[in-house]
């Protein structure tokens, strides 16, 4: 299976691990990730105002590029995934935004949300299959108790993202089982880490991320995995629980597949 791939800015820089291990693992799994040429930053946050079209154009360009190649668009970073999926949904369902964006882009064929946006985890679940993944694991992480941290952007709003049950997700837990480890269910796995507030209001970010980590630890986690660079930062820098390492899920995937 060949995907168009949208890495996003952070994965080219601070979160290069997330990207690197994803690519390595994809190779083992028979997935080809073709990076879109000249992609532009998605903006990091989805513009919520009803009359904001311009900030969505970068995402539309990526979506159109994938459409032209006839491929699904693969994402890794939670934020990129969130923005691309929601913009795509707007293009499909919001006539006002679709018309404006198409007028601006001057495409030969107008874009109306045809591209399917897929997160790497969704790809593992729906295309590779967790059972298949399990079969390909060479270094199962036996007995490791891993807490999945979803954060907000992957899950909500569930009606648009359709990622998993927003209040009781299981995709990452199933992933953890597939790589041979033991998932830890804890109540704060879908609560906010503090997000971009880490810049302005560090105290808030500290409060939020430590709630998450402490809850994970209380429930017996030995490490935490995430799909989001910002969550990673908050948990690591602001989480305040030093003996609980945080990994990108792709790193453990690569480790299990023996390509780390």
């Amino acid at each position: 299976m060949v995907y168009s791939y949208f890495p996003g800015c952070t994965l080219k820089n601070k979160a290069s691990d997330l990207d690197l291990y994803a690519r390595k693992s994809a190779e083992v799994l028979g997935i080809t990730m073709e990076e879109i040429e000249e992609w532009q930053c998605c903006g990091g946050v989805y513009p919520l105002g009803a009359n904001e079209t311009a900030p969505k154009l970068a995402s539309v360009r990526a979506l159109v590029a994938a459409k032209e190649k006839g491929q699904d668009l693969l994402t890794l970073c939670s934020a990129c995934h969130h923005v691309l999926k929601r913009v795509n949904n707007d293009m499909a369902e919001n006539e006002n935004i679709r018309t404006k964006a198409n007028n601006y882009m001057q495409l030969e064929v107008p874009y109306a949300g045809e591209t399917k946006v897929v997160h790497y985890l969704e790809m593992l679940r729906d295309v590779v299959g967790f059972d298949q993944l399990k079969a390909k694991v060479v270094n199962p992480l036996k007995g490791t108790k891993i807490a999945a941290y979803y954060g907000c952007l992957l899950l909500r709003p569930s009606k648009v993202l359709g990622f998993d049950n927003p209040e009781n997700p299981k995709i990452m837990e199933d992933f953890i089982k597939a790589i041979g480890a033991e998932p830890v269910i804890y109540p704060y796995r879908n609560e906010c880490c503090g997000g971009y507030m880490a810049m302005e209001n560090k105290e808030l970010a500290k409060k939020k991320s430590s709630t998450v980590l402490q809850s994970a630890k209380e429930n017996g986690a030995e490490c935490v995995i995430t799909a989001c660079p910002l969550c990673m930062y908050n948990l690591k820098v602001n989480g305040g629980v030093d003996d609980l390492p945080v990994y990108y899920f792709t790193e453990l995937l690569a480790q299990a597949l023996g390509v780390k």
Binding site: C152, C192, Y196, K236, V237
Partner: protein, 130 residues
């Protein structure tokens, strides 16, 4: 031209593209909000204040800058009101005015550290300034 309070509330509603009247004042948004204690006015009040046109106090308060945009209120609202969108609309109504950016460029460097991902900076720029 200065906008009066009612017009400003109208503008916020327009930017949000949503109807605050759908709110049944159950308070689930404020029950779900992770940044509740940082705020002077809370998510259910945002919606109500926009609806009543009582927005000057809101726009002057720090509350609107405290929203983490985690969408907990949006996800759990039984009436599909989307309080987070009103908060963002209120921010936009402010920062679209000249010189009203919440985050000044010169204030940014001291806030950064080695580890901070680009995503945080981009997001904060998008959320706090135009």
């Amino acid at each position: 031209m200065e906008k009066n309070e009612k017009e400003l509330a109208q503008l916020i509603q327009e930017i949000s593209g949503l109807n605050p009247k759908k709110c049944m004042k159950c308070g689930k948004c404020s029950g779900a909000c992770p940044a509740f204690h940082e705020m002077e006015y809370h998510p259910h009040q945002f919606v109500d204040m926009v609806d009543r046109g009582d927005v000057n106090r809101l726009l002057e308060s720090k509350s609107i800058w405290m929203c983490l945009t985690c969408f907990a209120c949006v996800e759990r609202c039984p009436r599909d009101v989307k309080p987070a969108n009103f908060i963002e609309a209120a921010r936009l109504a402010l920062i679209r005015q000249q010189g009203c950016n919440h985050l000044k460029d010169e204030a940014v460097p001291p806030l950064l550290d080695e580890e901070m991902p680009q995503q945080a900076i981009v997001s904060a720029y998008r959320k706090f300034k135009k």
